[in-house]
């Protein structure tokens, strides 16, 4: 895929129409891709064409449009399969987002596997979407949720994990990259340790897939989930990868059209493969858009994207540290391009509002990671999250705007 030319961030920026917009009359400095990423023109074109030229419902139709639509939808599944290096198409399930994917596993695997007294292991780095679904199923089945602590730098404590792992552990669910502070978690090692005890592992890849190449077979992940909208794809689409050996045993999650084999009021039998978990009309066009987005990033290449982002991260960290009274939260040696910080005496919400007037978009708040905020004893932080289309001007604009905030509150 990956051509031999060097990474050209300005060319990439031109692929994203949003950068033509002015914000309060200013250049857009978009540092909120961790919440959701912008969309390249090719994705918009794919969405448009799927509606305007080949649209119909998938799977059941024998007519031309239905056939085309099905080919595109199933083609997107193959794109995802190849991208994650999943063994088979049956292991790739389209969902609405990461949150639905985790709820699906929690409810379906949980219903099958959990007994009173069993334990689910998470970590302090998790997004609420990888906490609350487990709390809900744990409560229902009489199981308990345990969380692996972290150190001050925001690193996952492997020894503590090993102490928590026991015969009671029925599943481990951890994030690949922390959305709030950027820590890259050593998931391959976690999976190996869990497998030593026969415990399956779900990896929340929401913040990993936009920044790095993921190989589910290499990781040996039992479940790997991510959300399309952070990967430059449309909203309304997510992916659950699951090993066949689990999916085959798991009961259906939602009931409805397309997930059945035969329905009678007396007895209903279910489809096999990914169909069992895709009830109802799926997000057809959103899946097609996701396939297009994946092809787009692969053409650029994750080696280049990663290198670019790491150099931005280093520059941003250096520049932000120069500001007075700033505390960077999370300083793990392996980090994705996310910088979270607080400023003495100035609340993140006020910072967010003020720098927005300079066209700088960051996220302020708890980032759906309240346990992590509690750990650092802050209610919220300012988070600048970078994507492949960010450049050094974005860092400079952020730092300038922060200086303006300091003058404002001086």
């Amino acid at each position: 895929m990956n051509d031999m030319t060097t990474f050209d961030v300005e060319k990439i920026r031109r692929d994203f129409p949003i950068f033509e917009e002015k914000i309060h009359g200013k250049r857009l400095t978009f540092l909120d891709s961790g919440a959701s990423a912008q969309k390249p023109q090719v994705v918009l074109d794919a969405v448009k064409s799927a509606y305007a030229e080949t649209y119909a419902n998938v799977h059941r139709g024998v007519h031309y449009l239905s056939q085309k639509s099905t080919e595109l939808y199933e083609g997107a599944r193959e794109t995802v399969r190849a991208h994650l290096n999943a063994e088979s198409l049956d292991e790739v399930i389209f969902t609405k987002n990461t949150t639905e994917a985790i709820n699906l596993v929690a409810q379906s695997y949980g219903l099958m596997a959990l007994k009173p007294g069993d334990e689910i292991i998470l970590s302090y780095l998790e997004h609420h979407s990888n906490i609350v679904p487990w709390q809900l199923i744990a409560e229902r089945m009489g199981a308990t949720v345990k969380a692996v602590p972290i150190n001050q730098d925001g690193e996952f404590l492997m020894e503590e994990f090993e102490k928590l792992l026991s015969e009671k552990t029925k599943i481990v669910a951890v994030t690949h990259v922390s959305n709030a502070i950027g820590t890259i978690v050593p998931v391959k090692e976690i999976i190996a340790k869990a497998h030593d005890k026969g415990v399956p592992v779900l990896i929340d890849g929401s913040q990993a897939v936009p920044h790095m190449q993921v190989d589910v077979q290499d990781l040996d992940a039992d479940f790997y989930v991510f959300t399309g909208h952070k990967l430059f794809a449309p909203t309304g689409i997510g992916v659950l990868y699951g090993k066949n050996k689990w999916l085959e045993q798991m009961p259906p999650y939602q009931g409805g059209g397309d997930m059945i084999n035969r329905v009678t009021f007396e007895k209903t039998t279910y489809a096999t493969g990914h169909s069992k978990f895709e009830a109802g009309t799926p997000p057809i066009v959103q899946a097609i858009g996701l396939g297009t987005a994946i092809n787009y990033v692969n053409e650029i290449g994750f080696d280049k994207i990663g290198a670019h982002e790491q150099s931005l991260l280093a520059y941003a960290t250096e520049e932000i540290r120069k500001l007075n009274n700033v505390r960077i939260i999370g300083d793990a040696p392996h980090k994705a391009a996310i910088v979270s910080f607080t400023m003495d005496g100035i609340h993140p919400h006020d910072i967010g509002t003020i720098i927005d007037q300079a066209g700088v978009a960051v996220r302020v708040g708890h980032h759906c990671a309240q346990p992590l905020m509690d750990f650092y004893d802050v209610p919220s932080t300012v988070r600048a999250s970078f994507a492949m289309y960010n450049n050094r001007d974005d860092v400079d604009a952020l730092v300038d705007a922060m200086q303006m905030v300091q003058r404002f509150f001086a």
């Binding site: 309060h24 009359g25 200013k26 100035i346 609340h347 993140p348 919400h349 006020d350 509002t353 003020i354 007037q357 300079a358 302020v364 708040g365 708890h366 309240q370 905020m373 209610p379 919220s380 404002f408 509150f409």
Partner: protein, 152 residues
């Protein structure tokens, strides 16, 4: 750009946020109310003394918040001290109207001038919750609800 910001962060607001009035916990108090802003994780607790006649004789607050929320809470405590429960509720209504009405209606707002300094928040819809959080907490306290107030 600075105009909108200046109207949001007026001198009074910055002053109250840096030196909040009635900060701390009065003991004893007859009732308290808690406010939680799920969007930013901020929390505020109001401690209130209401006498038999239904007059708010004393009030204080604790909690962390942004400049808008802290200033709004500080102003609230100053304003409702000495007022009856009914008057406090009326003020809440006027305040809500003011921060959610369309810009043209601001001048017609019945809110007292002490509250009008917060009218600028209307230009910042995502911040309205910050300004109203403590009013919801006050309402919870006066209704003596153990339940949590959220500013949604």
């Amino acid at each position: 750009m600075m105009d909108d910001l200046k109207s949001l962060y007026q001198e009074v607001i910055l002053d109250h946020s840096k030196s909040p009035r009635n900060f701390g916990k009065i003991e004893p108090h007859t009732t308290e109310g808690h406010g939680d802003n799920p969007l930013c994780g901020d929390q505020v607790t109001l401690y209130v003394n209401v006498d038999d006649a239904g007059i708010i004789t004393d009030i204080s607050f604790e909690g962390k918040g942004c400049a808008i929320s802290t200033a709004s809470t500080s102003l609230l405590t100053q304003l409702v001290k000495g007022k009856s429960k009914g008057e406090a509720t009326e003020l809440f209504g006027q305040f809500q109207d003011m921060v959610t009405s369309s810009p043209e209606d601001t001048n017609r707002s019945e809110a007292p001038d002490e509250l009008k300094v917060l009218a600028g928040v209307k230009q910042f819809p995502m911040r309205v919750k910050c300004a109203t959080l403590s009013w919801h907490a006050l309402k919870a306290a006066l209704e003596n609800k153990a339940a949590l107030a959220t500013s949604e």
